[in-house]
């Protein structure tokens, strides 16, 4: 049982508030992905959970035990650091074995675990090298292997695959997921790769400026962003937003097109649609094409809708070029609405 529960945690660095009152519960064996903009406090949160940073306020519970006052080693965690922190004076083997030796595991067991995790991370042939003789990606994999070899109750990973190529990453991701599920490890995983987030996460927690804005299943986060930030942050390219003016009978007018929408007291709310939920169709939103970028099987079309930036991912068969005007119709059940002031979703179930 290694449920992690963060209660009302805040962290100040001098004047700067890196975390405002964060509440988050990660269930036992859950794989939680932490997503958020650069500098929003992800690393800080992980470090607080690990016990490397003292929260200015709040409590951290792991496995039903309050751990605020425990040193890192007594929290049953392992961590992959954002910049690896591979020990320069030890070989790859000794780096991976480091934690195991601390636990005084028998030599054979250490060998076994090191070899296994190293193979898993495809660094089996580098075991004799020092970190100065490794490439960036190799070093990162050593850091991951070192944490995995521990077989901890909780593993915290701070962008563990950021320096790997897509192929390797895909593989690693699958292996990680498998290994962690097998060992019943509770995981918090920071990544900025949304595909990774989507495919790995049991739940995704989205952070914004030191706050957790939404923590739900990936598809929920993607389809039903709880706040405008989530919509604009998740999805690549991100969700499009357009202002909607109140029309007759609870309908809303967006760029001259009328949509059914939520009841709201406001005169103006925000209309939102994901780029891939658009298709060229009469009666759609009038868009002037600015840039067309090929993305392999699709094209990313960046347009201007009544002065607002608007992106659409369309099938690459459609031929468009700069200056064309195209009508883009949103898939109706994918339209979302946001309050322009609180920036919260207007139909979100929470």
């Amino acid at each position: 049982m290694a449920e992690i529960s963060i209660r009302n945690v805040a962290k100040q660095f001098g004047d700067f508030t890196a975390l405002h009152s964060v509440d988050l519960t990660v269930a036992d064996q859950e794989f939680m992905v932490l997503l958020g903009a650069s500098g929003c406090g992800k690393t800080t949160l992980l470090r607080i959970i690990a016990g490397l940073e003292t929260p200015s306020r709040g409590e951290v519970w792991i496995g039903g035990k309050r751990v605020d006052h425990l040193p890192p080693r007594q929290r049953g965690i392992a961590m992959v650091f954002q910049n690896y922190a591979v020990f320069p004076h030890l070989t790859v083997f000794e780096n991976i074995a480091f934690g195991l030796r601390m636990q005084k595991l028998p030599r054979a067991e250490v060998d076994r675990r090191v070899t296994r995790t190293a193979e898993l991370m495809h660094i089996g042939q580098l075991l004799k090298r020092y970190s100065g003789q490794l490439s960036g990606g190799q070093r990162q994999r050593v850091a991951v292997a070192r944490a995995l070899a521990m077989e901890p109750d909780v593993i915290l990973m701070d962008e563990p695959l950021s320096n790997l190529d897509a192929l390797l990453r895909l593989e690693m991701r699958a292996e990680l997921k498998g290994v962690l599920a097998e060992s019943k490890t509770t995981t918090i995983y920071v990544t900025h790769d949304q595909v990774e987030a989507m495919s790995l996460a049991d739940r995704i927690a989205v952070m914004d400026k030191g706050r957790i804005v939404q923590a739900e299943r990936p598809i929920e986060v993607y389809r039903n962003p709880a706040a405008r930030f989530v919509g604009s942050f998740i999805g690549n390219p991100p969700m499009n937003f357009l202002p909607a003016k109140k029309g007759a009978n609870g309908s809303w007018r967006v760029a001259g097109v009328t949509f059914e929408g939520p009841r709201a007291e406001r005169e103006e709310i925000a209309f939102a649609i994901r780029p891939e939920d658009l298709s060229p169709s009469e009666g759609g939103l009038p868009a002037e094409v600015r840039v067309v970028e090929p993305l392999g099987p699709h094209v990313l079309v960046t347009c201007d809708v009544e002065g607002h930036l608007f992106r659409a991912v369309l099938d690459s068969d459609i031929v468009l070029s700069r200056g064309d005007t195209v009508k883009l119709a949103p898939t109706p059940d994918r339209i979302r609405w946001f309050d322009p002031e609180t920036e919260k979703s207007l139909q979100h179930h929470q």
């Binding site: 080693r73 961590m79 650091f81 922190a85 020990f87 004076h89 070192r146």
Partner: protein, 282 residues
């Protein structure tokens, strides 16, 4: 830029490199000479007969007379004094690193009240003339039975070596990324274990430097050794304390006899002094 000038620059820069290399090597040789020349003169004198030592103009090659050296080596008790010296220096080394490294670590990793006060206190021990302290210390040692023991003398020498140990380890600990330690903590280390397993190996040069200083300080210290040891004289107290009033040839021989073990020690630890793990990635 045209290709012609390009080639020219390439040529000249290669030239500059070659010349730079020459200057570099020459500088190193000059510096080595600067260090070695006086040692060589010591060796000449130590290996010459009294007449040669007192001659003028002096010869710049030794006479290879080992009488003066042999005089010292023939002293009864030299072996025991040597042993005492090594013992005292060893204890001093262990004590000053054992006490100094944790303090250096605390200074480098924490901000706390009294930090500067502590540093000043440590330095005061170095800044206050030992001969004045020797009397109260000797009284204390005689009363407690520490007098005339290797440990007692080592304690005094540790006071002298401790500032080096504290400050040197401090300045080097300050250069080790905290993150490495943090990684060790998350991997199950206590602070102490992380210190020994991660920080210490990385500051090996600093530790070695402190060790060398502790050793050399203890080895060469005469005053306290002369006051605090009687039966258990150190080699320095045994040989060196009267060297100033001994005839020239014996001065040099005595000097040489004392210098050699210290040099052997430094030679033995030299590779730790400059151990580099390449904290840098490459």
């Amino acid at each position: 830029m045209t290709a012609v000038t390009a080639r020219e620059t390439a040529v000249t820069s290669a030239d500059i490199r070659k010349r730079g290399r020459l200057v570099f090597v020459a500088t190193i040789i000059i510096l080595c000479a600067w260090v070695l020349a006086p040692i060589y003169l010591l060796a000449i004198n130590a290996l010459s007969s009294p007449e040669q030592v007192n001659a003028f103009p002096k010869s710049f090659v030794p006479g290879f007379e080992t009488d003066s050296i042999a005089f010292f080596m023939g002293f009864a008790g030299v072996a025991r004094a040597l042993f005492n010296s090594v013992l005292v220096a060893g204890i001093t080394m262990a004590l000053s690193i054992g006490l100094g490294a944790p303090a250096g670590y605390a200074l480098s990793r924490f901000d706390f009240r009294g930090k500067d006060a502590f540093r000043i206190m440590v330095l005061m021990t170095r800044a206050f003339p030992l001969p004045l302290l020797a009397l109260p210390l000797a009284v204390m040692f005689i009363r407690t039975g520490l007098d005339d023991t290797a440990l007692g003398l080592a304690l005094v020498h540790t006071t002298l070596a401790l500032p080096f140990a504290v400050l040197i380890t401090f300045s080097l600990f300050a250069g080790i990324p905290v993150e490495l330690e943090e990684a060790a903590w998350t991997l199950g280390c206590t602070r102490l274990q992380a210190f020994y397993k991660v920080v210490l190996p990385l500051v090996l040069p600093g530790i070695a430097a402190s060790a060398v200083f502790a050793f050399v300080i203890s080895w060469n210290e005469v005053f306290a050794a002369a006051v605090l040891t009687i039966e258990n004289r150190t080699l320095t107290a045994f040989l060196l304390q009267n060297i100033n009033v001994s005839p020239m040839h014996l001065k040099f021989a005595g000097g040489a006899v004392l210098v050699v073990p210290a040099l052997i020690f430094i030679f033995a630890v030299r590779k730790y002094l400059f151990a580099m793990w390449g904290i840098a990635n490459r």
